[in-house]
């Protein structure tokens, strides 16, 4: 009832004036957010961690060596995993790099953009779901600040900066365009939606975070569905919206999805759904579910887990939040008062939306906390659902849903309270504004955190010229088919690069692949479980002979020795356990000649004592065209020839007979009977189409020694099934073949690009047609 008259009764400042003030506030906020990374990281790059974040500083390198191909091994996390979701953002950042000519500027801009998107789209979304929102622009603006400056997001998203950070803006963005489309039925909102989704597809690919939010929304959606009158219309409009959005994302989603369908030991699905991960669900949940609902309700991260695991956040609690947390009870009062007051204040339509958000909030609070009496065991039971193991780090995966629902709820509750007690409006808003700012004070300590337990080691760094030059020399010295062992090994697949001019270190997934295209084995995680156990045992037993056998089996021909790791990092968990036993004797035992040394001798390249080749099994000459295509000539193939390809096994690798003779050029290696020609590093789409359309060689393809690919080739079969000009016959009855080894799933990327492109073209044409029709 009251809401119907809301515009007259409750607006204190006229809507137009409010809009003007809010525009100014938004511009001011954006300027401050753009300045924020300079305050946090100064003139250093914000890089490191599992995602490396190098995409935001070196987009060209990332584009070239990671984004384009469906097969990549980043620091030897060997899997068939598409990374094409990073293509649009890498392209955009590459353009920005050309304009600004500074890696630091685009690195910092990327950081700011995640927050700016969140700020803007949160306001747009809440304006759509709250009736008469023009009168409450200040409340909505405060709600957006509450959202993007949430200490929970600061810790969980900004300080890790995984690709999920883009969802902070993307989830409200999709929500906004969806509601706009439902209200207006105008396709232009789908069009805008697919533009943003494509641009930020990197965020959409953060599937566990996205699903975590959707899971929290599920019960609310069911509730809303039963309350809605025009169910059929909603279903059909929603189908349009989401199917078109999905089709527009086919360029990354199709190869990504296929990587889960294609069976193989080394695809993404097998890694995520592996027994190890599944078995760790209960243990991880039981040890980390130590929080309670109080801290999330105070808009703070779970304190207990920060102390249990000695995260740097514990110090922020100790010196700051522990002293002010009770002030945040204001949020709890706002939430509860809004809930107590809502019934007589809002109309039926708004009630449905409000209850929907309440359900969303209640469920996300549970998922974010888990440790709620017997409900903890319910969560453990859910762990039996296929794929639910992805939520074992619940305090991370459900963060976005919780923060978004809480921010919308606080905004809604503020409006409800102000509708009831309008004279308290500015006092209440001021209190909330101050509280949000006070809670954001330790943002530098939270985001620009030291490296784990190494309190004086910063994580923002400009990669030293010495290191970059060294990598350049490595790139020129060795072929991209050779693998490298980075020493000292650590418990992750990390590289530790320290900046001599500052206290900063890069500690993250090894950037060697991104900068050079050469794959390295940097730690336990690089080797996979079987080989990881074996090398750890070898290190413990000082069985370096066996260690060398492992190197040979994995085609590791070079060793990069990093002599510049700070002591504080060496003492961290990264180099704990058996990894401590890597001494000089170990290095000497597995290395041969020193091939390169960096300008200050901090980085050295050695060859290994035993050499191996990526292809073996006969008289072979081969050339790498790009990471998914190899051309080779194999001579004297008899009835029982085996071709071994030392790249993680996947059924997607196919063999094709090639009529053209291999043009080798410079031979850079000659190991046993296998010759390696200089790599080409080109993409020829016509070649790709040829492989996709022609049948592959029908031979037995097996997983060799739990790691590599092995094909059995029979000269008899080839002579029987192929025309004579496809091979050359030798006098002794053997044959010579020209072959191509091609990673077939790359096809799904090309197919996806066609589908996405067509979707954009069709929607654009439809919008154009609508516009012309309207003019006529």
């Amino acid at each position: 009832m009251l809401a119907d008259n809301g515009n007259k009764m409750f607006s204190i400042i006229p809507s137009k004036k409010q809009s003007f003030y809010i525009s100014i506030l938004n511009v001011l906020s954006i300027v401050i957010i753009l300045w924020l990374p300079y305050y946090l990281f100064g003139d250093k790059l914000y890089i490191g961690g599992d995602d490396t974040k190098l995409l935001y500083s070196y987009p060209f390198d990332y584009f070239r060596n990671v984004s384009f191909f469906s097969w990549f091994s980043l620091s030897s996390l060997p899997m068939y995993d598409s990374a094409q979701f990073s293509l649009p953002l890498a392209s955009l950042l590459a353009i920005l790099l050309i304009i600004f000519k500074s890696s630091i500027v685009i690195n910092h801009l990327a950081f700011s953009l995640t927050i700016i998107f969140g700020l803007i789209f949160f306001q747009l979304l809440t304006q759509e779901i709250i009736e008469n929102s023009r009168s409450y622009r200040i409340e909505i603006f405060l709600g957006s600040l509450f959202y993007v400056l949430s200490p929970i997001l600061m810790f969980d998203q900004y300080s890790n900066f995984y690709s999920s950070v883009w969802l902070i803006g993307l989830i409200p963005c999709v929500g906004y365009f969806y509601i706009k489309f439902l209200k207006t039925k105008k396709f232009k909102f789908i069009f805008f939606n697919i533009i943003f989704c494509t641009l930020l597809s990197l965020g959409l690919a953060a599937i566990p975070w996205l699903l975590g939010t959707l899971l929290s929304l599920l019960a609310g959606i069911v509730f809303l569905f039963f309350r809605l009158k025009n169910k059929l219309e909603i279903i059909s409009l929603s189908t349009y919206f989401f199917i078109i959005t999905l089709l527009s994302q086919a360029f990354w989603f199709l190869p990504f999805f296929m990587s889960y369908l294609i069976t193989g030991k080394n695809n993404a699905a097998s890694q995520i759904f592996s027994d190890n991960i599944a078995q760790s669900f209960n243990g991880t949940v039981l040890t980390t579910a130590s929080g309670n609902i109080f801290y999330p309700l105070l808009n703070l991260f779970h304190r207990q887990i920060a102390f249990d695991y000695s995260w740097p956040l514990a110090l922020v609690f100790k010196y700051f939040y522990d002293k002010i947390y009770y002030l945040n009870l204001v949020y709890v009062f706002i939430l509860m008062l809004g809930l107590i007051l809502f019934k007589p204040i809002i109309n039926k339509k708004e009630t449905n939306v409000y209850l929907f958000i309440l359900i969303f909030f209640t469920i996300s609070l549970y998922f974010f906390t888990v440790n709620i009496g017997p409900l903890k065991y319910l969560f453990l039971l859910l762990g039996n659902l296929p794929g639910f193991v992805m939520f074992r780090n619940f305090y991370d995966k459900f963060t976005l849903g919780f923060c978004l629902s809480y921010a919308i709820l606080i905004t809604f509750s503020l409006i409800l309270i102000i509708r009831k007690y309008k004279k308290w409006r500015y006092f209440l808003l001021l209190i909330v504004f101050i509280l949000i700012l006070v809670n954001a004070i330790p943002i530098k300590q939270i985001v620009d955190k030291p490296l784990w337990t190494a309190k004086n080691t910063a994580t923002n760094i400009n990669l030293p010229i010495e290191y970059l030059n060294f990598l350049n020399s490595v790139k020129n010295k060795i072929g991209t088919t050779d693998n490298v062992l980075s020493l000292p090994l650590n418990s992750a697949g990390y590289a530790v690069i320290s900046d001599s001019n500052s206290k900063g270190v890069y500690a993250g997934t090894s950037p060697l692949k991104i900068f050079t295209g050469i794959n390295d084995y940097a730690g336990d995680l690089s080797f996979g479980q079987i080989y990881s156990n074996r090398i750890n045992k070898d290190l413990q037993d000082k069985n370096y002979k066996d260690f060398e056998n492992v190197l040979k089996r994995l085609d590791i021909n070079y060793v990069i020795l990093n002599k510049n790791i700070p002591k504080s990092v060496k003492q961290s968990f990264l180099f704990s356990g058996k990894l401590k036993t890597q001494d000089e004797n170990f290095v000497k035992s597995i290395t041969d000649k020193k091939l390169l040394s960096s300008s200050h001798d901090n980085y050295q390249l050695y060859s290994t004592k035993i050499h191996s080749s990526i292809f073996s099994g006969g008289n072979i000459t081969f050339k790498k065209i790009n990471p998914i295509e190899y051309h080779l000539t194999i001579n004297k193939v008899n009835n029982n020839t085996s071709l071994i390809f030392v790249n993680p096994y996947n059924s997607g690798w196919k063999l094709y007979l090639d009529k053209n003779q291999l043009k080798c050029g410079l031979v850079i290696h000659s190991i046993d009977s296998s010759k390696q020609c200089q790599s080409q590093n080109t993409i020829n789409l016509l070649d790709d189409i040829k492989y996709i359309t022609s049948p592959s060689l029908n031979t037995v393809h097996i997983n060799y020694l739990n790691y590599a690919n092995k094909w059995k080739i029979s000269s008899e079969d080839i002579i029987k099934n192929f025309p004579k000009n496809d091979y050359s016959l030798n006098k002794d009855g053997t044959i010579n073949l020209n072959l191509t080894v091609y990673f077939f799933p790359q096809f799904y990327f090309y197919l996806g690009v066609v589908i996405s492109g067509l979707t954009f073209v069709i929607i654009s044409l439809y919008l154009f047609y609508e516009k012309i029709k309207l003019k006529a």
Partner: protein, 338 residues
């Protein structure tokens, strides 16, 4: 009169049926409570435990327990720990468990463990070869940390019933004749019912009976005495928070069930549930640094459950606008009159 007899007859049958079902369930719990069928577990008082320092055991710290065996064949000592951190094998601390008859010079059994063994296994069983003639003898056991530090220390729960002794009776002895079998089962049932953890964990099986009992006997009185059911529920919550360390689903289900029943019975508005939730959250937040962690967890759980029940009622009551619900204000006013 005939009608009344029929009702009474039905009632008695129902009660007998319920009793049988509950007895069956309780027996199932007694004989399936994580220990061997032939084991009798006796709860002992934590007051008998002595720490050399605190209940967090660092290098050299120890815990000594003394108790008198209630039976022969003493074979397991259960000790309740607080959860340890999930550390890799090399970073875990070592500790030893040893046991002997009081007065003996040498230890009967000495075993070394890694702290990680307690991880997710809080009520940890320390086993040793059963001691045949243990009954009525006094035993001393010790836990000594060999190298515990700030990260990998072990911590003993200090609640009253934090340890138990288990007696592994040989099957041949149990089944030697019918009377010894009967005695074994009676003793097992007796000690199980004397074990507070067992009783509290079994409460959930009694909830249907409790609700049924209230329905057939006390409902009229509860209806007459305004809000009595609500007050009982809240009293249960307070007692649970104050006196019990662990969370028992039986108590949670019972109190929340009673609350929801009272809301339906007295037509209370959803806001009352929200108010209770708010009060619990306030209490929990303000005592965050004072209350022990288990109490905080408990308040958090109750706060959430009342919040959820409030939301559920809000959804129901928002679509059922015809009923006149008793508002929070009226409830408090009525309560002040009582």
């Amino acid at each position: 009169m005939k009608k009344l007899n029929l009702k009474l007859n039905l009632l008695i049958k129902l009660i007998i049926l319920l009793f049988l079902v509950l007895s069956g369930l309780s027996l199932a719990v007694i004989f399936n409570s994580g220990t061997a069928l032939s084991a009798i577990t006796v709860s002992e008082s934590g007051n008998e435990l002595r720490f050399s320092n605190t209940n967090q055991l660092y290098k050299g710290d120890s815990l000594t327990g003394v108790f008198t065996a209630k039976n022969n064949y003493l074979g397991i000592i259960y000790l309740k720990f607080d959860n340890v951190k999930n550390l890799d094998y090399y970073n875990q601390s070592d500790f030893i468990f040893r046991i002997k008859k009081d007065g003996d010079k040498s230890w009967y059994a000495v075993n070394k463990y890694k702290s990680g063994i307690i991880y997710n296994n809080n009520y940890f069983p320390f086993g040793f070869p059963p001691i045949r003639n243990s009954q009525n003898h006094q035993f001393v056991f010790q836990i000594i940390s060999l190298n515990g530090n700030k990260t990998n220390f072990i911590k003993i729960d200090t609640s009253v019933f934090n340890f138990a002794a288990s007696y592994i009776i040989p099957k041949s002895e149990i089944t030697s004749n019918i009377s010894s079998l009967a005695i074994f089962f009676i003793r097992k049932a007796f000690y199980s019912l004397n074990n507070p953890y067992f009783v509290l964990n079994s409460l959930k099986y009694f909830i249907p009976a409790l609700f049924y009992f209230i329905w057939i006997t006390l409902l009229n009185r509860f209806t007459q005495i305004k809000y009595s059911l609500s007050l009982i529920s809240i009293t249960m919550v307070i007692l649970d928070i104050v006196f019990l360390n662990d969370i028992y689903s039986g108590i949670l289900l019972g109190a929340v069930g009673l609350w929801i029943w009272s809301v339906v019975l007295y037509k209370l508005e959803y806001s009352l549930s929200i108010l209770v939730s708010l009060l619990l959250i306030l209490l929990g937040t303000l005592t965050l640094n004072i209350a022990n962690p288990s109490m905080t967890d408990k308040i958090s759980t109750w706060g959430y459950l009342f919040f959820v029940s409030g939301i559920g009622l809000a959804i129901y009551q928002s679509s059922n606008t015809k009923s006149n619900y008793i508002t929070m204000r009226r409830f408090l006013k009525d309560l002040s009159k009582i």
